[in-house]
Symmetry: C2
Subunit: 438 residues, 2 copies
């Protein structure tokens, strides 16, 4: 079977065949996407996109985060960029991309257009995201290293599949939509640090809606736009690794289950340390005043990224192991963007604790791991360790995501959580309206 | 100077510095684009795009070929695909791409949006097209051979520059627009033979309008999206050749001057033969009944493309040296798509003449050349030769393009020609309305 065959099977999977655990993760991602989207609404990139795309007008079929309704393609473009503006959304490490911000905006907008059930939007997202992760794996690390942004490139295929499923495309139609996406998908990592990065998520989402809509109308395209001669994979990867992409887990089970959420509004390279120290902090009898040393071993790749010893601004705190360790051990929340103030960088008590943090690179420690020990004044040595790859129990994940939501949006977040809990009783349009209203 | 510096200079060139000869070619291209666009309006890809994109609606600021007005981005998408539907539009062989179909739709739509003068639309097209050809040359043959479609990729940059100039972007704004285009541009050759090919032209045009509009609204992007680290050129070409791209001709003079027009509705590989035999046919006293043999030498690369010995359909006639030679020598026009009927393929008189055509590959004959001789019954041998690279005198080119227009559209074409002749007195909106109405 070609990758395209696998994907066409996946795109047509009956809802009844979707494992409950995978569906639960898709709904956690929905909540995470919604809170990131609503929280991003005042970011300059979001405001500017609403101004430009909103000025085009058009039939109001899909909700725009921040208010108003536009054609599905336009809403998907704005909502993709808006939800990625804070860079606080989910990540899948099997291909290294952000699934929700490129795919959910396409699924929701297409779902609103055809008046689908909200549950079908979440299922279409899941299937699109699963296809996207597998395509991203097939493109391989060389694709990312060459300069392509998987969120935008692999993401566009996921968005196409999600929108195409909601539009009711048959197998030939879905094949045409994927072929059109092959010639439409784009996105470069050189945009990182600019508004071009969130724009990339919007590009993926709008490409998905456009290609699915054009295929629905009968546009033809390359037979196998993915792996055929001069298809997307051979033109965009020097060393595709498509052969074993469907082996583990096999079709019917979902790689998407291992999606990861940012629970701290700082560099992802610091999250394992934060989790490890937070667990330690929760142990009874630990008095921060008694801490003499915090010895941390981390993957050497992070030393150039997030080991700023003396941050000067709130932004630099997000890339400082020492300061973040101090925040956790002092009980200062790390989940909210607004916590990272310049005043925090100048806090003398934190500076004392941060001065006791010793960071060493250790090639035996993985990218998603942190290992170390805390030395106390009484001579005790408390080891700590965390691996972000470890599954988080559903109840703990729920609590963490809801805490993240409250940190971002206050009590408004609970309304969005209620919508996700009650998803099976909602239409896509009601879901969109809740998100549009924030 | 980087390529980006050159392009920012070019994009800001005062209208008074544009050479008259280059401006004349841009206006020939405008006419050629208009007749191809209006003639393509009933093609299925055009009708389907009008249905899908038209259904989105939106503020009516730019004319759609075939009628109606839509937002500039939407009109550019439809008009790009519509004008490339017949694949009868202009080609620039320095980078091998179709300049008009990707760039004029963006220039016209943006020009209509801001109520620019029609002459400024043509100038903006020229500057965008020139930049596009130079970028295409920088991407190199490896880009095309890898599978990218220059019409869409390099074309998107040309469309961005043309739209950005009409939107009045300053140097920083144009830089941002080009950076956004770097992450937005796409298009693959694997779509050839499907509706994805004309869609690629629409992709270029709509990307140009979108990126220029977003830069106008203040979206930021990579500093040098073209040649910077992981910019468009290094990610999309394994062997960029950007160093000497601006040497010949130097800035201030235009490579665009050598743009080529299809004057026959058949494979471009046959056009040199057709021109050579048409010149021979025009010589007095040549009686087709006296022709014993037509010996043709052509580049070996064309033998697999357009040497069908016994075409079975009108479409196959377009790829048959023998049949096309017979048509020319019998005085049957080759400029109109409708001439290529299945009945023509079955014409016994043509079959006799075609049977006398002998084709040989000759590596000494260039891709754009044809060389040969006609042997007459009285023993005379009449040599013929043509090189498509040879400049065509302006009056002859005008006559040929107007004949092409009449072949495609009848007398309606003369109204479009009048608009081009009177361009300096028109607004973009009046020009757009003439094209929209066909």
């Amino acid at each position: 079977m070609t990758m395209l065959d696998h994907i066409l099977d996946l795109a047509a999977l009956p809802a009844s065949s979707i494992p409950a655990g995978s569906r639960r993760m898709a709904r956690f991602s929905l909540y995470d996407w919604m809170i990131c989207g609503v929280a991003g609404v005042r970011e300059p990139v979001a405001e500017r996109l609403r101004a430009v795309i909103g000025a085009e007008g058009g039939h109001p079929v899909a909700d725009v985060i921040g208010g108003g309704r536009l054609p599905a393609r336009a809403a998907a473009l704005i909502n993709g960029a808006t939800s990625h503006a804070l860079d606080y959304d989910d990540t899948h490490f099997s291909h290294v991309g952000h699934p929700s911000v490129g795919i959910y905006p396409a699924a929701l907008a297409a779902g609103e257009e055809v008046d689908a059930a909200a549950a079908d939007v979440a299922d279409a997202f899941l299937l699109g995201a699963e296809a996207s992760v597998r395509i991203g794996m097939g493109l391989g690390a060389v694709h990312y290293n060459r300069g392509f942004h998987q969120t935008a490139t692999a993401g566009a295929f996921g968005a196409t599949i999600a929108a195409g499923r909601l539009y009711g495309l048959d197998r030939a139609g879905m094949r045409a939509a994927i072929g059109l996406c092959a010639t439409r998908a784009s996105g470069l990592k050189s945009q990182f640090g600019t508004m071009g990065k969130p724009y990339n998520a919007g590009i993926a989402a709008s490409n998905g809606v456009e290609c699915a809509a054009l295929a629905r109308a009968g546009l033809t395209s390359a037979d196998d736009g993915l792996e055929g001669p001069q298809g997307f994979v051979p033109t965009h990867s020097d060393a595709p690794v498509t052969e074993n992409v469907w082996d583990d887990p096999p079709p019917g089970r979902f790689l998407f289950d291992t999606v990861k959420y940012k629970l701290h509004a700082c560099c992802h390279g610091t999250h394992a340390v934060i989790e490890a120290l937070a667990a330690l902090k929760a142990s009874p009898g630990l008095d921060p005043a008694q801490i003499m040393a915090i010895r941390l071993r981390t993957s050497p790749r992070w030393l150039k990224v997030c080991d700023i010893k003396a941050p000067r601004t709130g932004l630099e705190v997000k890339f400082s192991y020492a300061w973040l360790a101090g925040m956790i051990l002092s009980g200062i929340p790390t989940a909210t963007d607004t916590a990272y103030t310049d005043a925090l960088a100048a806090d003398p008590a934190l500076a004392v604790l941060a001065g006791r943090v010793q960071v060493t690179g250790d090639a035996a420690v993985g990218d998603m791991e942190a290992v170390g020990e805390v030395v106390l004044a009484d001579g005790r040595i408390l080891p700590f360790a965390h691996d972000l790859a470890a599954p988080i129990p559903a109840d703990l994940l729920e609590a963490s995501l809801r805490a993240k939501g409250r940190g971002l949006l206050g009590e408004r977040a609970e309304k969005l959580w209620s919508a996700v809990v009650g998803l099976d009783g909602l239409s896509a349009r009601v879901l969109g309206a809740k998100m549009g209203a924030g």
